[in-house]
């Protein structure tokens, strides 16, 4: 069995380069087809409005935007294959440096947020499923609808107003105080304090999905024959729920987590913007607004690589959770 997993992983790894090629080609085409005028996005409308048309043509030439699309794509591809991701023409810095600098902030926020979300989702989902039809189940179910239909920017602004601006308990935004504490403990306590609100909002924004998944898959498992068998054997209810129903219910949940990986890596534009969190989501958004295609292409390549890797890991996790699954 170990060998078959190794072969499977090897085959999947071989698929990565063509996938990345496809993603980069699509991104490049999308960018090319978008109605945004890259010169206006780059220089700003105020500036372009004052420029004589012949100057605008010169800017296009200097940015290399006058070349044919296939020429631009191939020269980009050549450089990437050689490990040169290019220089952002808005920020005038190497693209890879920019991405790697911003990525840890996103990863920290999303890992904490998703962990909170899945733990809460499991607890509440189990509580709900094991008491199906009870007043608690109904209450959770209704609250779930409310949470699911509340946009996260609203939750973000609400918690910021309440806990930061009116009560003053927590910092309103940023990853660390403007005047950074110097000692080790004070520094990390400060970081933690700044993490609470954005992680909470992120957790809430995904809680509804996780809760629903756990609740319905536990309920489904509870109606399976093997649960009946377990009950007939005289096992106590807790063992039935936790050892049998819950373990089987985790499988679709892992799929859901696997599907969430793109969000995990790409970051949340809204939460990062509102909480001034210096992550990768805000970076992508700004790059798109400024039509900074070198940076956008880099981001697409980087995130899709990690997404492919993440999905592979989720697939491997299945075999651990369910020994029946075999990949050929």
């Amino acid at each position: 069995m170990d060998r078959s997993i190794a072969v499977y992983i090897f085959r999947r790894v071989l698929q990565i380069p063509p996938l990345l090629f496809g993603v980069s080609l699509l991104t490049f085409l999308l960018f090319y087809l978008s109605p945004v005028d890259p010169v206006v996005a780059y220089l700003g409308l105020d500036t372009v409005e004052k420029m004589p048309p012949e100057d605008i043509v010169k800017v296009q030439q200097q940015l290399g935007l006058d070349q044919q699309i296939q020429v631009r794509y191939i020269s980009w591809l050549e450089r990437v294959v050689q490990g040169d991701w290019g220089i952002s023409y808005v920020k005038k810095r190497p693209v890879l440096d920019i991405i790697l600098e911003r990525f840890p902030a996103t990863l920290l926020l999303t890992i904490v947020g998703y962990t909170m979300s899945s733990i809460l989702g499991i607890i509440l989902g189990l509580a709900s499923a094991t008491r199906e039809g009870s007043s608690l189940d109904r209450l959770l179910h209704r609250m779930n609808y409310i949470i699911y239909s509340t946009p996260s920017f609203l939750v973000a602004l609400l918690v910021m107003l309440i806990f930061a601006i009116w009560l003053g308990w927590l910092p309103s935004s940023r990853m660390i105080s403007v005047d950074e504490p110097i000692t080790f403990w004070a520094y990390h306590a400060d970081r933690l304090k700044h993490l609470i609100l954005p992680a909470f909002v992120l957790a809430v924004s995904h809680l509804a999905v996780f809760y629903t998944y756990i609740r319905s898959s536990v309920l489904e498992a509870m109606s399976e024959d093997y649960i009946l068998t377990a009950r007939a054997k005289g096992l106590d209810e807790r063992t039935i729920i936790y050892r049998h129903a819950f373990r089987n219910a985790l499988l679709p949940f892992v799929t859901q987590i696997g599907l969430s990986i793109p969000y995990l890596i790409a970051g949340s534009v809204i939460i990062e913007s509102i909480f001034a969190w210096p992550g990768i989501g805000k970076l992508t958004y700004d790059a798109a607004l400024r039509a900074d295609y070198v940076l956008l292409m880099g981001m697409a390549l980087f995130t899709s690589f990690l997404v492919i890797l993440g999905n592979l890991m989720a697939d491997v996790a299945y075999t651990v959770l369910d020994p029946r699954i075999k990949y050929n």
């Binding site: 109605p35 945004v36 206006v40 780059y42 220089l43 700003g44 409308l45 105020d46 500036t47 372009v48 409005e49 004052k50 420029m51 004589p52 048309p53 100057d55 010169k58 200097q62 023409y89 808005v90 920020k91 005038k92 810095r93 911003r102 607890i123 509580a127 608690l136 209450l139 602004l157 910021m160 107003l161 309440i162 930061a164 601006i165 009116w166 009560l167 308990w169 910092p171 309103s172 935004s173 940023r174 660390i176 403007v178 005047d179 504490p181 110097i182 004070a186 306590a189 400060d190 933690l192 304090k193 609470i196 913007s273 509102i274 909480f275 001034a276 969190w277 210096p278 805000k282 970076l283």
Partner: protein, 564 residues
Amino acid sequence: MSAAAGDGLRKSAKTTAMLMLCALMVDAKGVTESMKVKRLGALAALIACILLLAQLTLASADEKTLNIALGKEPDNLNPMSGSGHGETYDMIKVYSGLLRSDEKMHMVPDLAESWETSADGKTYTFHLKQGVKWHDGKDFSAEDVLFTYDLLRSGDWIAVFPTSSDYGSIEEVTIVDPTTVKFTLNEGIVSFLERFSAAILPKHILEGQDLSKTDFWQKPIGTGPYKFDSWTQGEKLIFVINPEYYGDKPKIDLLRFVFAPEETSRIGLLKSGEVDAIKIDPRSIKTLENANGIRVYSMPSANWYALKLPNNVWPFDDKKVRQAISCAINKQLILDTVFNGQGEIAYGPYRSQDWVYNPDIAFPYDTKKAELLLAEAGFKEGSDGVLEKDGKKLEFELYYPSSETERKDIAIVAKTDLEEIGIKVEPVGKSWDELTQNFTMTHAIVNAFGSPFDPDDTNFRLWDSKFIGKKNGNPTSYSNSEVDALLEAGRTTFDQEQRKQDYQKVQTIIAEDQPMVFLVFCNYIYAVSDKITGIVPRNAPHGQGINGGISGEIWWNAEQWQKE
């Protein structure tokens, strides 16, 4: 926000917290007693942790640090990445130019000790300050001036310095002696003086570099009052005092910009005392004007809003129609509702702060007069109440960029007011690209322009008929030979009194012709800690702050600010 409402919300927050606790208790029901105790214990521990964290005090702020929160982050620190003087009148503090703008927008010496202009305005001679050093310790010299202006006028780096062609009229730059530089131009335009505020760049670092790729723009070296210190992307940008600065010693040692795109979080940072100054929306004044330790500043700007009407398209080709529209719109209402009263009514392109401003061009809001003007123009009321002439109804679509809420609000007020006198208006939101590419010359658009600089700036291109049909000028196709002559005289006459008369006459004619329906000048609003003194608001240009707002805002003279 009133205190009562704040209390109410605090109460409801408490109630919510109680409810959440109850929910958790209910959840615990039906589980064994020991589990319940464990859960409650864990919950208590969590709450204790949060409270403990909240108690931790922050390191006390350094007295001489100025913290400013910006909504945007600069792309890079290229001092000339934008449009003309709007970019250089408030230089990124790292750099300096031969001249700079003072609080009245007049040009005063900076790297130059003094300068002379020839009578025809074609020769400028600058005498440089001696002993000025670059931040890396090298001597500043006339070679750097020559290097910088050669870069600009060559046009080789137009993607880096988009206004390069503004310097195209420089024919020759010569170093007369080590401290004297002479510029020879092929035309004598008064406002060219403002071009000498361009940032001087270090030849010893940038010579031979690819300026479109150099990391110099990320960690620049200049001759200005502050040195670049560090930049954590997405978080903060720090400048420190330059002890070798040739000018007045800055009173602030460390200048720190932090980035927070959302206004609520900027207000949070200001209220908690973490930052000293922010820019706010005019509608947020109420939240902050009574807050402890915070002062709100309303800074005038030369930015005016107008209905841009295509003067060569029916019905706007009739001056009386334009005049009627102008009389029928309640400008005070726009100022009060859209801009929270922060600004000034506009009758022409110059604001009262401007030295060429003509106070005699004002006219009242008068719907009767508007109706009279339209009757004179031959319009009669149709069966549906809409005015018409020769079977054509007086109706039009009013476009606005859909991303700009204040322009949308203006369009709605205009619609309401104009329908009062029988003109049918349909406000339509469009994207910027659509507006600039397809509709500029042919449709009525809610636009904004304005310049606090030399009266020639912006206005020459807006009103001179030789720019009709050019992408970058005269968007209304306005043509008046008298205005053309006055604008030409104004930009080539060096006698300031004569210029003032010329531009005042321009205002009189434009107010009469109403090529655009001028509405209001807006103000920009800032909230600053009351520990800060030395703030000098000055007339701001059109457009939002430059370089993400490091420049072009109320902190233009931050080096002169003091912190208690």
